[in-house]
């Protein structure tokens, strides 16, 4: 009896050791195929069984008849009696919620009966296998998710690369645009196409919904619209064709209809043609704060099989500003309170920023403050167009001829303005001394405009408007700032030498000393300018 008990205890120890070893092996890998193989191998070898398999996996170990496996697989009812020539035992494997996700099925040799220890061993092994299989499946899902994430990141890069990277250089105009997606990729579409004619086509559109599906529709939309723009179709023709094309793409595309507004800017005639297809109204604000809304004239693209669109043509005067946006810009919330179109319009009317990029920066800041840092809930896109301010010439009795050039706010480029002014003055008969005076005055005014007015932002131009009369040359140097730099008194060389005054700050003094007349004009709407005049016969004035 004692010997028998000792043997039993020894057997239990061996089984326990086997279970520990089985556990170690099961958890030594996170590859699902390996986990299944190890589990089945341990079961068959440790208990000297014929075979084993899991009801929801194809893998088997040992002798498992294919028809038996098929019959006992997940979803199958109990196997017919004729298949059960050999005894089988089933051990359910349950997930954390208690639901059976597979069964360990062991095939016993004929006439073999498992004792209690062996059954305990299999139950314990099933528990260990449950954890190992769940870990392996989690690992598999993580790998799959990694691939999806990598795909999304690549898609995001593609979409970002298709947003205009640089704003086109349009004489007398400044453009700025910003698009931020809610998820990795988005359904807002922004495009700027420079035409060989010198015109620029601008598109801001919004595919219904957001995320990958909307982005795919947006890409297809982009290709079609670009082809039509380059084919030279009118905006109304493009809108009509886009509507039909999108509708005929099928049911899925119709659910993801597109609102959009198309513009064609003619920078010579200073006209802006617009066609709005069910999109939010764009705001066009004149120098005197007069508002023109570019409203929808037809339904969104792809919503209905037919739609008619009407073009809206506006004349762009100096100082006019356009804001085009998607609904993500107005559907920003503070609790239940929506930012809305009215607030956006008021903000734009009040906005004193002097370049499109600054307007966009301020807009995003304003929305961020309004939402109190709440997470973005939709794709957000906005585009701003400025027609550069040009101070209107002061009416004069005598006829004058005007010349206008623009230079970037890059130190050194003032020499272009100097040379132009000098050539003009020379052609009018000014002597070389006066021309040298004019050159220094123009250079200093340009440097002031670049440094103080435009803060050396190279994207902001300095305008130089030269007008010639019978006996005078007037030069206006225009920047985008809101006022002239602080006026400094005549330099005090003693103070400078004793470091009681900055060694700089002599530009305005030199201008005032070198020309016959100078005026500093500040305008928040139209930019600021210095007006300088030199006369052929100054003593006569």
């Amino acid at each position: 009896m004692e010997i028998s008990e000792a043997l039993l205890a020894q057997q239990q120890v061996v089984r326990l050791q086997a279970l520990l070893e089985a556990s170690r092996q099961l958890h030594s890998t996170i590859e699902l195929e390996e986990v299944l193989h190890i589990a089945l191998q341990i079961v068959v070898r440790e208990l000297e069984l014929d075979g084993a398999f899991f009801s929801t996996f194809a893998q088997t170990y040992g002798k498992v008849a294919a028809d038996l496996q098929a019959a006992l697989s997940a979803g199958a009812a109990d196997a017919p009696d004729d298949l059960l020539q050999q005894p089988v035992l089933r051990f359910p494997l349950c997930d954390k919620a208690g639901a059976t996700f597979t069964e360990l099925i062991v095939v016993l040799p004929p006439d073999r009966v498992l004792d209690l220890d062996e059954t305990d061993f299999l139950e314990s092994l099933a528990v260990q296998a449950t954890v190992a299989i769940e870990n392996a499946r989690f690992h598999q899902r993580a790998l799959q998710w990694q691939r999806v994430e990598s795909d999304l990141a690549a898609a995001r890069q593609v979409q970002l690369s298709l947003i205009p990277q640089e704003m086109p250089d349009i004489p007398s105009y400044l453009l700025g645009a910003r698009s931020v997606t809610c998820y990795e990729v988005g359904g807002d579409y922004l495009d700027i196409v420079s035409m060989p004619s010198g015109e620029t086509v601008i598109v801001v559109a919004d595919v219904a919904g957001k995320g990958l599906a909307s982005a795919l529709i947006g890409m297809s939309f982009r290709s079609a619209i670009r082809a039509m723009v380059h084919a030279g179709l009118s905006l109304v023709e493009i809108a009509t064709q886009m509507n039909l094309l999108h509708y005929n793409e099928g049911e899925e595309a119709r659910h993801r209809y597109v609102t959009g507004v198309l513009f064609r800017l003619d920078p010579v005639a200073h006209t802006l043609e617009a066609v709005n297809a069910g999109h939010t109204s764009a705001f066009l604000v004149a120098d005197d704060a007069t508002l023109t809304k570019i409203k929808a004239s037809g339904t969104p693209f792809g919503l209905l099989p037919f739609s008619s669109y009407a073009p809206q043509v506006v004349k762009l005067e100096p100082g006019m500003r356009l804001l085009v946006y998607t609904d993500g810009m107005t559907e920003v919330f503070h609790g239940e309170d929506e930012f809305g179109e009215a607030r956006l319009l008021q903000w734009f009317l009040d906005c004193k920023e002097t370049s499109p990029d600054r307007v966009l920066g301020s807009l995003w800041d304003t929305l961020g403050t309004f939402s109190d840092g709440q997470e973005q809930s939709d794709d957000m896109t906005a585009l701003v167009l400025f027609r550069n301010a040009s101070p209107r010439p002061i009416p004069m009795d005598e006829p004058r001829t005007y010349f206008e050039i623009q230079i970037p706010s890059r130190l050194g480029s003032e020499k272009v303005a100097m040379t132009t002014a000098a050539d003009l003055a020379r052609s009018m008969g000014f002597d070389e001394d006066r021309i040298e005076d004019l050159k220094t005055a123009v250079a200093e005014a340009c440097i002031n405009a670049m440094e103080h007015g435009n803060k050396l932002d190279e994207t902001l131009p300095v305008g130089i408007i030269l007008s010639t009369g019978a006996d005078s040359l007037e030069v206006r140097v225009v920047d985008t700032g809101t006022g002239p730099p602080v006026h400094t008194a005549a330099p005090d060389i003693d103070k400078k030498m004793h470091e009681e005054e900055t060694p700089r700050g002599m530009g305005m003094f030199l201008i005032e000393s070198l020309v016959d007349e100078v005026e500093w004009v500040s305008s928040q709407r139209t930019g600021s300018y210095a007006r300088m005049v030199i006369r052929l016969n100054p003593d006569e004035e």
């Binding site: 220094t440 330099p491 530009g507």
Partner: protein
Amino acid sequence: MSEKVTQVKTEAVQSNSGASITVLRYAGDITSASKAAVLGTFQGLPEDTKRVLLDFSGVDYLNSSGIALVIQLMIAASKRGQSVQTFGLKPHFIKVFTMVGITKYTKLHPDEQSARAAFSA
């Protein structure tokens, strides 16, 4: 039409009385971008330099930022007890230097010979 880089050449000459003079010969544009050429070169001169002659005969364009650098050079020279003479400025820049008042601290000579002679005076 970009800015011309400021060039500077340092040269040692002697006055009529045999005193040693360091000449800084500038060429190109003198603007806010000329700090290294104007101030850097001056600061690199040996501490015992007594006489500095500024030669602007190769300078085509000089703006208010460039004049500010010349003033800073003269402040540094004054602190070191160095004497500064100037020549070679084009007539328009002589007018501008005079307007600003620099002539109170350095004489603007018409040529190198008179500038060198001014040291021995």
